[in-house]
């Protein structure tokens, strides 16, 4: 493998600035790597080699002229297929949007382009971001680079796998209930869900508007901070975006990497651990906690009693919003159009019904049905209304916990990556994977997942989650970077150094091709 591929975005930025490499060389290396391993990994749904190389050449020209647009100018990136990219297919992993070419860019994509980051392509995902394994993609699953028979997490398994497989140094993901952090945990990468409103959702095809957030998917905490600062900040096109400057995230990551955590109070959430969590995951979690204490942090146990209802509330609010958000996919203006069989002179309604039936997968239909039911007259108060109350109580739990702790921590996901197909027939088992990540979405607070090591029983990556109060994303970066530094010292390098080589494996596995 070309050694340029394993470098962090921060190092690549420095190398580009120093003239040690070019964006064309770097982008070309990523494209080669994709060609080499993505047949096995299937992280990408669409690769835009031509567009990425053209942007890389333009970036090199800017660098040569001494006027780079941004520190990350020229560093290539992969984008989750739920973000609108002008002229590049955007399918959300669904058959109903097969071939749809958006006429506009999501705000985060526009910011990437303005900063000069070549977009390598669009990454695979569970259909409309509904899932925890990327198996619900209409275009076939993504495989975990650590073990190609296992899931890469979801819904953003494509972005996490692309970064873990060194196909891209950076990626964008979206997180509604853990779709950035859980894939990060099971692929040994870093994922951040920013504060709700911290990053524009304009151009993010909504699953659940009040929960969705765009965030960075990277291999290091510092890279995540660099990318977060680039995409974050107020957007007048998104009413829910927060109109105030981001805290210094890169500075917080650098400060954390120096290792000193004196005076930082770390709250261990009692409800996010124990029963239902894999032993190896818990062992790595406890060890990580010890490292933070060694760095000077103070550990307190906190209780968030309403977290036990988070999953139930989430599975009412999310499908309710999704049922309405996905109503627009009706074959009238764009996307798949299917004429019903055995219907003469079909009405618009007949065509809508047939197209939605053919275009949506089972998990999407399940959630639309759930949400439609929960919002129905006579059930609204008992379901949606009640869930919103739980949501308020969860936010209060966070408030109280942040009264005694600066950050809260937990394992990111209860288990390491499970086998492809293992939980497909049991939605509840699948949903339980997001147990620890969902509360942050319900309360709108930021969270980061940092690799905590490999579980002893299966040798697969586990994740350590750090949650902070809304708008205090910098705390996630500080603590995350401190943990990353301590663990790397212990391991003698990044966790991904221990990942198997894909070049041997790829010949034996048949993945759907990009």
């Amino acid at each position: 493998m070309n050694t340029i591929l394993t470098q962090s975005a921060a190092d690549l930025s420095a190398a580009l600035a120093a003239g040690e490499t070019t964006s064309v060389e770097l982008t070309g290396a990523c494209l080669e790597r994709i060609a080499e391993v993505d047949g096995a990994v299937h992280a990408f749904l669409h690769v835009d080699a031509e567009g990425a190389l053209a942007e890389a050449a333009a970036s090199d020209a800017r660098r040569a002229a001494g006027s780079p647009a941004h520190a990350l100018d020229g560093v290539p990136i992969a984008v989750k297929d739920v973000l609108a990219t002008e002229g590049l297919p955007t399918t959300c992993g669904s058959a109903i949007l097969r071939g749809w070419l958006p006429p506009y860019d999501a705000t985060v994509v526009a910011r990437l382009k303005a900063a000069g980051l070549p977009i390598l392509g669009k990454t695979n995902m569970d259909e409309f971001a509904m899932g925890s394994s990327t198996e619900h993609s209409a275009y076939g699953p993504t495989h975990n680079p650590w073990d190609l028979d296992r899931i890469p997490g979801g819904s953003g398994g494509g972005s996490a796998a692309a970064v873990a497989a060194f196909e891209a140094p950076l990626a964008l993901g979206t997180d509604t209930g853990g779709s950035i952090r859980q894939p990060g945990a099971v692929t040994g990468t870093v994922g951040v869900k920013p504060t709700y409103g911290g990053v524009s959702r304009y151009g993010l095809v909504a699953m659940a508007s009040s929960l969705d957030q765009v965030g960075p998917v990277t291999r290091t905490v510092l890279d995540a901070a660099l990318l977060h600062e680039l995409i974050g900040g107020h957007d007048p096109r998104d009413s829910t975006s927060v109109d105030q400057p981001l805290p210094g995230l890169v500075a917080a990551a650098r400060r954390g990497a120096s290792g000193a955590l004196a005076g930082v109070r770390i709250g261990v959430v009692k409800e996010l651990g124990g029963k239902g969590y894999q032993d190896g995951v818990l062992v790595r979690f406890t060890e990580a906690l010890d490292l933070l204490v060694a760095a000077g942090a103070e550990v307190v146990e906190v209780s968030c009693p309403h977290f036990v209802h988070a999953l139930a509330a989430y599975y009412l609010i999310m499908p309710s919003e999704a049922s309405s958000n996905l109503a627009k996919f009706d074959a009238m203006r764009y996307g798949l159009r299917v004429l019903p069989e055995h219907v003469e002179d079909p009405s618009a309604e007949d065509v809508m019904r047939a197209s939605r039936d053919a275009g949506f997968g089972d998990e999407v239909k399940r959630r639309i049905i759930l949400g439609t039911y929960a919002l129905s007259s006579g059930y609204y108060d008992a379901y949606y209304g009640q869930a919103q109350k739980v949501r308020t109580l969860i936010a209060r739990d966070f408030e109280q916990a942040f009264g005694v702790a600066d950050v809260l921590v937990s394992p990111t996901a209860p288990t390491t990556a499970f086998k492809l197909g293992e939980k497909l027939d049991d939605p509840i088992e699948m949903y339980l994977n997001d147990l620890a990540t969902i509360p942050a979405n319900l309360a709108g607070v930021p969270g980061i997942s940092v690799p905590s090591g490999l579980a002893d029983e299966d040798g697969l990556p586990a994740g350590f989650q750090v949650l902070a109060p809304a708008l205090a994303d910098d705390r996630c970066y500080r603590v995350g970077a401190a943990l990353e530094a301590a663990l790397r010292e212990k391991w003698g390098g990044p966790l991904l150094d221990q990942a198997p080589s894909l070049t041997a494996a790829s010949r034996n596995t048949t993945g759907a091709s990009a």
Partner: protein, 504 residues
Amino acid sequence: MSTTQHLIAWDDVLASYDPALGLEVHVELNTRSKMFCGCPTEFGAEPNTQVCPTCLGLPGALPVVNRKAVESAIRIGLALNCDIAEWCRFARKNYFYPDMPKNFQTSQYDEPICFEGFMQVTVPGEDGADETVRVEIERAHMEEDTGKSLHVGGATGRIQGADHSLVDYNRAGIPLIEIVTKPITGMGERAPLVAKAYVSQLRDLIVALGVSDARMDQGSIRADVNLSLSPRGAGTLGPRTEPKNVNSLRSVERAVRYEMQRHAGVLDAGDSILQETRHWHEDTGVTTSGREKSDADDYRYFPEPDLVPVAPSREWVEELRGTLPENPTLKRARLQQDWGFTDLEMRDTVGAGAFGLVEDTVAAGAAPQAARKWWLGEMARRANDTGVEIAELGVSPLDVAAVQALVDSGSINDKLARQVFDGLLAGEGTPEEIIAARGLAIVSDEGALGAAVDAAIAANPAVADKIRDGKVAAAGALIGAVMKEMRGQADAGRVRELILEKLN
């Protein structure tokens, strides 16, 4: 089309039933951009040219509230004596229809921005004098309009029988304010007039506020009239129907009257009223069955998660209160007194849509009765002949005032003034230019007049003798002859004087 309806005679309806009205009026705001995006709102543009990802509901696009629309909503609410919410949200009204890009309408549900208001509506009373009816306003809320379906290939332009349908999304996302009354009961025979007067005065209010074009014919004001009957004295509300496509004030009145007679027919026959929308046919004056509308229609409303709550500060609300124009009803009462109009004269003026025109004509210097006479007589006749509203005739209040000033100064008379209006409508220039070009000025040349009078006396010796004998009334015949000779361009009073002088 449904079968012929059995209508009950009007007096019999009133003898047996009490009507209850509920009015929902949609006002299309005249903001420069749409409710949730920056697209322009011009009426009549090429289909699908005023659209963007947001109003087309493309995946990923998000709404942003138009502050000007909120301002207009608050001003309407204040003018209707409503409370203004300190905090309210938008809600999604979910239903599938091709002209609705997102398959939900962003509207307001249980948290309207304006609520609990009222409007004093003036209606003609039984003795001819005006009476005031207080109409309670339940709410006024903000929402977005839908696109417009065009059904092609059918005979009626309706969806039934059409080959295919086209959708124009230019209208999708245009800001609407929906104003909903509480049930209006106890109106008896006045119910149709109250409905009409309410819509008419609401329109005047909207015009005075300047927040909408307020054109019923273009759909910028749309009135849905809910009507139900209950047995006299029962004090209950019966099942209601809602005529759609009621596109003029006259139709509001007719549709209510028709539905009352139709309901009574159904109820008298022992049947029950189906709760539904009805299609009003302007040409035939009947309604036909539309879409069944049960109270169980489930729109699965929930708070719009893509928008933040609207929380107008009290300072802003008070600032907007300061921008309200004079209440049109109060203003009408004030001007009626100033002008010395009777209730009937005032009602006719308002009914003809000439109130503002008369006001502006008086402001330009004309006497109120002269202004009224021109607008309700000559202009109303011309408008009627050409099938337009008098306001759109092409004659301005300034024109009328200028013509009247020329009449007052004796330069022209009423008959010549009509020719001046011909010239104005033909675009021949100012009244003065038209008078000069058409040679319409009254002849005040005493020589020419004297010659014409002499000629008339000479031609009618018998008449002249009568006048000499003191039968002054006979002068009319000679005046007529002179006026004819002068082609009307003489001051009849002066002609009379000359005749009497010469025959004394």
